[in-house]
Point group: C2
Chain length 483, copies 2
């Protein structure tokens, strides 16, 4: 008896291997082309076309064996020209799925390379919820054609899916529902399922609705399997469960999935009518995208860059952040200029001032990181906030005396001036206090204003501790050392 | 006919409400205590004890209705004294699960407050894979008792689970497997399942093994449901699927779950024997924990702080980062001190130098963020790396001329010196070049050394662009303006 072989692990390593083999094939093809280019002649061209055909066939076989997400990964890693030649080899019936998986900038390059009819064909392979995700990147006439080709019910779904804001549960939702009535026996449900070719992905529960599509409960597949077939749905269905609303925040839904270890959750509209479901894979994608957006934002990039994008496109992606920082640096510079007279008399101040500003910024960012986390964990309320300020002040004083003391001793030893050392320690402590106060205040204020405290707080605190640090240190020095 | 009520959404908002009600009850109880404390007397004590009993009963009812993850959330948000009084009200049979859900520092405070017997009882409610997660925080004698109380098979599982490094698939794995043989009819499988009280959570597939526990395939529940009961497992089982190895990197497993939209995946040892499975909820927790660790690291915190932790504990959590930054700031300060003579002659340099250093740091961090992402996406190979360096250099020159030009014009206007403006523009461009080169070089080197390029790159590049920026600007000024 022949035994079926289990496919080997397809983790990162295996995908990397596939990538290298494809790069290899592309290199070989390039080599042949270069050869012909150099030597010319009809015979070389014949050899080229034969070898090329062989390479292309091998490439196509390799691509066909890969999951759309892996093809997407490989497309991301290829420089533009090769990306497009691989794209041309991808079977037309997989293009839609792959377009969904690639990143925004790569998607744009692929779509720009496709004919309208090709795009319409790719889009038509997708479910309406997937189509809604792709729609913003498609040319208008393509979307018009796709829209016209849809059955009426799906048109409605597409319109609904596209109407939600990006951060709403509705934008995560799909429409692959299996619904049952509560007065059926499990046996009937089992027979009904057997008539389907397959169940939607991630079906861990069937949704129980009444005639008006109002959600009445859910029948977990597990219960369907372990209970007596004669039992009614009503008697084993679950009614204590998470129900999402289509206009809830997607972020709240993601937290609920993490907290309650869900695979799917039903989504209802305001009238408690079932309109769709959210699956854990959509939640995972959402979490990854958010983490990536946060990472890019912290690093000062507006959006993910295709490493093969033009210099011009990349530069523009980085300008907003550089411009903001240039303005704050310019302000700090103007603060220093107020004390040019003092620095002229004691140039050591110019040497030491970046330390005071820098450590203030680091400390302020620590406080902000701690606070953003506490806000996300719901640990902040008016009573706690007061305690927290007291605690941060205590830490600032402690750190100011310890680290400010150390650096003060250094300054004293280097410049043979006890007064300079004391000014250094005092300025460091004061700037750490400024960092602590604003480090608590900025995220709280942003939350109160309904903004995400993780975005922009870092730039603000650094601007304050830079200008503040220079002002405190140079101001103190002017008062103490020059009079 | 009475209709079952569906429980309302339990998203963030509802949990917050529960938290506020509990805080309210705790406040009332405190009020009663304070009153008695002030007025004394046996009658007041009677009133107190009656009211307290009432409040406690209400608290207990509320807590009993909450999911363990929600109780964990509420415990996190309470100051230590109240946290412990709520903890005392939690039913003993839920303590184990809740200990798993709370963060490390809060878990420590709760465990420190519990008697050994209580801890043993809590631990014994857990599955072996959960126990392995909790074990490092439990006192040794408690673990000894728990270990002795386990059946032999589970002892082996626990020993195995505890032997994996934190970043291995084995550490994510659980042992809740349902296995079947390939020569059974689906009907037999269905009957077998019906004999179980319930299936393990997240059972989307049964694992098909032979007599030696070697993995042969998987039977998705969906196929079990839609296929004819007479069909054999062998004929409908899946053999093309993701198989993890217990010593694979957990990070690779997480990527595979995202990529292939999995709910569970089988885990085998080196001899292809099925040893466990990974479920998507464990993957979600892993991803969240990694994202949080990364966020804390970027913010300069060693680990998550309990906002109610002591000043001393919090300060120590922040010292490593401050110490590193103090050293780099000190080095930058020494670089400036080399040019004290120059600054004395032209004090405007002290005013302008932080701009050159600061923008260099921002730009370097942008390059690093872009590169870390590209490395994670597998976009970096030797051929691409060379192109990338060229591109980053081009962006640096462009940005240096544009932004350096703007700030140079400002400097020129402010200090009426064309030469100073030119030095400013040139220094800015050169420092952006340094930022670009090291911004590409540092993450590549770290990856080559097998380290995570996201950790520590930012501190390094900032140190280089600070000291480098001061050196370039002041050095150029010394050469051009003073000779």
């Amino acid at each position: 008896m022949p035994t079926p072989e289990i496919e080997q692990t397809k983790t990162q390593e295996t995908v990397q291997e596939a990538l290298h083999k494809i790069l290899d094939l592309l290199d070989k093809q390039q080599l042949v082309e270069d050869l012909v280019h150099k030597q010319g002649g009809p015979r070389q061209e014949l050899v080229e076309s034969l070898l090329q055909k062989q390479h292309m066939a091998e490439l196509q076989t390799r691509l066909a064996a890969l999951h759309p997400a892996d093809i997407a990964y490989i497309l991301e890693a290829l420089p533009p020209a090769r990306r497009l030649s691989v794209w041309d080899l991808v079977k037309a019936d997989r293009e839609g799925e792959i377009l969904l998986e690639v990143s925004e900038p790569v998607r744009e390059t692929l779509i720009a390379h496709m004919e309208p009819e090709e795009l319409v064909a790719a889009a038509e392979q997708l479910d309406t919820d997937e189509l809604a995700d792709l729609a913003p990147d498609l040319p208008e006439d393509v979307m018009d054609d796709v829209f016209k080709a849809l059955p009426v019910a799906e048109r409605e779904q597409l319109r609904a899916a596209m109407s939600y804001r990006d951060e709403a549960v509705g934008a995560l939702m799909d429409f692959d529902l299996v619904t049952v009535r509560e007065d059926l026996a499990l046996e009937v449900v089992l027979r009904y399922l057997r008539r389907l070719d397959e169940l939607p992905d991630h079906t861990d529960q069937l949704f129980v609705v009444d005639r008006r599509e109002t959600l009445r409960g859910a029948l977990p597949i597990n219960r369907l399997l372990v209970n007596d077939p004669e039992v009614l749905v009503r008697d084993v269905m679950k009614t204590d469960m998470l129900v999402l609303h289509d206009d809830d925040d997607a972020q709240d839904a993601a937290q609920a999935f993490e907290r309650y270890d869900l695979v799917t959750a039903p989504v209802t509209d305001r009238r408690r009518r079932l309109v769709g479901r959210v699956t854990v894979d959509a939640v995972l994608d959402f979490i990854r995208q958010r983490a990536e957006a946060e990472r890019l934002n912290l690093g000062g990039l507006r959006e993910g860059e295709d490493i093969f994008a033009s210099v011009w496109a990349s530069a523009r992606n980085r300008w907003a952040w550089l411009a903001v920082n240039l303005v704050t640096a310019f302000i700090a510079s103007r603060v220093i200029s107020v004390f040019e007279g003092t620095i002229e008399k004691l140039v050591a101040l110019a040497t030491l001032m970046p330390i005071v500003a820098g450590i203030g910024g680091n400390s302020g960012n620590q406080t902000i990181t701690m606070l953003v986390r506490a806000i996300a964990l719901g640990q902040i309320n008016p009573a706690n906030a007061r305690k927290l300020v007291t605690k941060e002040i205590a830490i600032a004083v402690l750190n100011g005396l310890v680290w400010g003391g150390i650096i003060g001793l250094f300054a004293m030893a280097l410049y043979k001036s006890a007064a300079l050392g004391l000014v250094m320690t005092a300025a460091m402590t004061l700037n750490l206090l400024v960092a602590a106060l604003f480090g608590v205040f900025i995220p709280l204020l942003m939350t109160k204003l309904g903004r995400d405290p993780a975005v922009g707080s870092s730039v603000l605190i650094t601007a304050i501790t830079d200008s503040g640090g220079f002002f405190i240190f140079l101001g103190l020095a002017t008062l103490v050392l020059l009079h």
